[in-house]
């Protein structure tokens, strides 16, 4: 067996060149940037047609979007703040996607993560800050991880379609949240908006120094980087990519596909649960129905636009956060209905799904068509 390990090959004459030319690498990499970007432009163009039919100017829209999302320091901070949960909920889609699973129920992990975090914080109030925040994070991640981990386990051991089960589990999660915040965990003082007991000002997650953005943004960015390293640089991630690329090939190699699937889905759920915990700890101060604000669903769009690459999730989440942030301004200035941003997001999503069929069709991005075969 010894001679199958790479280091045993040292001293062996290398027959084929191992380096990849920068041109080839550029061609291969740019496809995953150009196609989603092109799809984004096409989506905006179609949306512009809608606006023209309504007698509105698409140019105004773009101007307002840039202004509302990134026009000044205030709007940039607003966009970043909105991007923070999207980073984590997008990971809840992207990580299982690398294993070939389409999980769309991150919303469920968000709300349960929020409820679990609030429930963990209340009995600990009075303990040191770090203890309470730590307990909240662990509880939130455990709840989210359990929830999406169940989806993965159902998929592997009982062959239940993960897309359907995660969506249905999200509805169950929202019902559970309503039960807890209106029942066992309800603060009697919360009258018209049933909530858990507030965790109190002293235990709130603060802002990044010098910014009006809470630490959730940092947590999200760190989670994206960690996920990228996990997938691209570790043996565990490599095994997951094999299983995602072809489960039969992974089984023939003796890889424990079940553990990979449950592990990755649980980690994905944990990130979404963390998003819920941050929403409670940094924004709401308690768990309530506002947790189900659709971050889980927007995360799906972010992950697909980013081609399930955790590093690409960072700019895409900020872009979508910006569109979200400019929504209010667009509605007011252009006199458009509330659902405008949702329509735009839906359009973008459909165009992105269509663009999936374009991969491998352009000779420019496919060096195998213009490089000469070599032995």
């Amino acid at each position: 067996m010894a001679d199958t390990t790479p280091e045993a090959l040292q001293g062996v004459v290398i027959v084929a060149p191992i380096s990849t030319s920068w041109l080839e690498l550029l061609a291969r990499r740019s496809e995953a940037v150009v196609i989603p970007f092109g799809a984004f432009i096409v989506g905006m163009a179609i949306f512009s047609l809608f606006l023209l039919f309504l007698g509105k100017s698409p140019i105004d829209l773009v101007n307002l979007m840039v202004k509302g999302g990134f026009g000044n320091w205030f709007s940039i901070q607003n966009s970043l703040q909105r991007a923070a949960p999207l980073l984590l909920t997008a990971l809840c889609v992207a990580l299982p996607a690398r294993l070939g699973l389409v999980v769309i129920g991150g919303e469920g992990a968000v709300v349960l993560g929020g409820v679990a975090a609030a429930a963990a914080a209340v009995p600990l109030l009075g303990a040191p800050y770090v203890v309470v925040i730590g307990a909240m994070a662990i509880a939130g991640m455990a709840a989210g991880g359990l929830w999406i981990g169940i989806v993965g386990a159902l998929r592997h051991y009982r062959a239940v379609n993960e897309t359907i089960s995660s969506l249905l589990m999200a509805y169950i999660a929202i019902a559970l949240m309503n039960h807890f915040v209106e029942g066992p965990l309800r603060d009697p003082a919360s009258l018209n908006k049933p909530s858990t007991y507030p965790i109190g000002k002293d235990y709130m997650i603060g802002n990044i120094p010098g910014m009006d953005v809470h630490w959730g943004l940092v947590a999200g960015i760190v989670a994206c980087i960690v996920s990228w390293v996990l997938i691209e640089k570790t043996a565990f991630g490599f095994a997951a990519r094999i299983a995602g690329g072809n489960v039969r090939a992974a089984q023939i190699q003796g890889l424990a596909v079940g553990k990979l699937i449950v592990g990755f889905t649980a980690l994905a759920g944990a990130f979404a649960g963390l998003a819920g915990m941050i929403e409670v700890g940094a924004v709401q101060g308690s768990a309530n129905a506002s947790l189900a604000a659709g971050y889980g669903y927007t995360g799906i769009l972010v992950a697909f636009l980013a081609r399930h690459n955790p590093l690409a999730i960072i700019p895409v989440a900020i872009l979508l956060g910006g569109i979200d942030a400019s929504g209010g301004l667009i509605q007011r200035r252009m006199d458009l209905p509330d659902a405008t941003v949702l329509v735009l997001q839906g359009l973008l999503f459909i165009v992105i799904l269509f663009s999936e069929t374009l991969y491998g069709r352009f000779k420019l991005f496919n060096p195998d068509l213009w490089l000469r075969n070599r032995q």
Binding site: K233, N246, Q251, P367, N373
Partner: protein, 526 residues
């Protein structure tokens, strides 16, 4: 006797409505056929002459241009240059519809019948003009009269899925004749048939050509079929005409020479004797597992594969071979029984495969052994990515040593790839299989499990893969070879077993192996 001489009047109406043309075989001549795709020339000035009533074989390796030529003739492609002459007149074939109007028909390698419909229904719906309401009593009568004129007897009233492979292939041919075609292109028509079925079908087709009813152009890989049934051959190599001639003037060696050119084929190592005290490496006892449909069970009572021997398992596709391999590979759960490798229980975990040096060469490697979108280098690293310095489990992926290792394997196994960073799906079938061989046969191999390892591959790839399997055997590996290709089993095996209906029903040492006996057991007579 021709198909158009049926006495039934309704049949005559049907025929004339379809395509009014003369009965009997037609000759075809294609001259100077050239087909370019961008800068790539798939077919370069190829001429072929198929006289009326002849049985012509078109030979060539994968990618030699056989399908391109046939697709030009059938109107699927518009050739860049070249003329087609049918019955002395130059014709323009712009679409498959034109081809069928001229009486040209094609039978594909894989079945194109609708499995849930009966033979009669399949025939009727294949017509170009099917009436909105079908009068089945009239159609049945017409069909019965038509079948009278056929040399094949086929049950037309049962769903096609319950027909045997040979019957389905006959029905495919009957369908072409029913549609009034009198020049048939057969694309590897016997690849899914048993030896008995293959010679029966080809014999009947040959009879029809001899009676002048049809002309046949057959694409084939199998020399014994060509020598037994064809009159003439045309050989293509890399898009060019490599030779042609009458079969009786040529030896198999001549034909192989035309097909592969001057490239020497990998020769099999001579077979070392199996040591009498060779240890059993794989032993399977009282194994049972559900099959694909979940309705049947495969049962392997007792199977041992010893070090240094190749045990071949023959069987018609769908008799449980796939499921058996899946159990051994950890892709399917067994319901009972005992699998041992080197006397220790074996459940196909990564630790066990690695410790016992168990390797797999499955059929259709892209679907079964590769992650198609991952790169060539990554696919070659599947066995080794989690092994670090000194054989310890690795946490981090070392991209550079993965590439270095891949470069070494690509060179050593002559895998043709544009780059190590190409997705493995960009490689040709033979090169994907070479890459899988490189991965699986590097290092010590104690147990090698192969399933149709040469399915769909070209000549030189096949010779090389068989040579490598034999080499592994001679180096002491126990080899379990499941194959639907009897020639392959006879060439490589030390013992041959036959699997039928999920059970091993017959065993013979290679010295006493007889094709007809094996064929009978494959077909369920035991």
């Amino acid at each position: 006797m021709s198909i158009n001489e049926g006495s039934d009047s309704s049949l005559k109406t049907l025929r004339s409505a379809e395509a009014p043309r003369k009965p009997g075989a037609i000759g075809l001549e294609a001259a100077g056929m050239t087909m370019r795709f961008g800068s790539f020339t798939a077919l370069d000035n190829v001429s072929i002459k198929v006289p009326a009533g002849s049985f012509h074989a078109l030979l060539g390796e994968n990618g030699a241009g056989k399908s391109t030529l046939v697709k030009c003739i059938m109107g699927f492609y518009h050739p860049t240059a070249g003329q087609i002459v049918i019955g002395g007149h130059e014709v323009a074939i712009d679409s498959p519809r034109d081809a069928s109007a001229l009486g040209l028909g094609m039978v594909y390698q894989h079945f194109t019948l609708v499995p849930s419909l009966t033979g009669a229904e399949n025939l009727v719906i294949s017509r170009e003009h099917v009436p909105g309401v079908i009068d089945w009593s009239v159609e049945r009568k017409a069909l019965a009269a038509f079948m009278e004129t056929m040399p094949f007897k086929l049950p037309l009233d049962v769903p096609v899925r319950s027909l045997a492979a040979g019957e389905k292939q006959k029905l495919e041919i009957v369908k072409q004749l029913y549609l009034g075609r009198n020049f048939l292109v057969l694309d590897e028509p016997t690849s899914v048939l048993t030896p008995g079925e293959a010679s029966e079908v080809l014999g009947l087709v040959r009879g029809m050509t001899q009676r002048g009813e049809i002309t046949v152009l057959m694409i084939s890989h199998k020399f014994h079929e060509v020598t037994a049934f064809a009159d003439e051959i045309t050989v293509l190599r890399r898009g060019k005409l490599a030779g042609s001639g009458r079969v009786k003037d040529l030896t198999t060696r001549d034909m192989a020479g035309m097909m592969i050119g001057d490239v020497p084929l990998a020769a099999l190592d001579s077979r070392l004797a199996v040591a009498p005290d060779a240890k059993p490496i794989l032993s399977v006892k009282a194994l049972s597992a559900p099959d694909r449909s979940g309705l049947k069970t495969i049962r392997i009572a007792d199977l041992n594969v010893r070090s240094g021997e190749i045990v071949g398992i023959a069987g018609i596709s769908g008799n449980g071979q796939k499921e058996f391999v899946e159990v051994l590979a950890g892709q399917r759960k067994k319901t009972a029984g005992d699998i041992r490798v080197k006397a220790a229980p074996y459940a196909a975990t990564r630790g066990e495969t690695r410790e016992n040096n168990v390797r797999f060469i499955p059929e259709e490697p892209l679907q079964n052994a590769c992650a198609p979108k991952m790169t060539v280098a990554e696919n070659l690293a599947f066995r080794t990515f989690d092994v670090g310095q000194g054989g310890k489990p690795a946490t981090w992926i070392d991209g550079r040593s993965i590439k270095k290792y891949a470069a070494h394997l690509v060179g050593a196994f002559k895998v043709k790839t544009a780059s190590l960073a190409s997705p493995i799906s960009a490689l040709s079938g033979g090169n994907v299989q070479r890459a899988v061989l490189a991965r699986e046969l590097t290092g010590e191999v104690d147990l090698l499990i192969c399933s149709n390892p040469c399915f769909g591959l070209d000549f030189s790839a096949v010779a090389e893969i068989r040579a490598r399997i034999m080499k592994a055997r001679n180096a002491g590996a126990a080899v379990l070879l499941l194959s639907e290709d009897l020639d392959e089993l006879l060439e490589l095996s030390d013992r041959i077993l036959v699997m039928s209906d999920g059970v091993l029903v017959y065993e013979t040492p290679i010295a006493t192996a007889n094709v007809m006996t094996i064929g009978e057991h494959m077909a369920g007579h035991h």
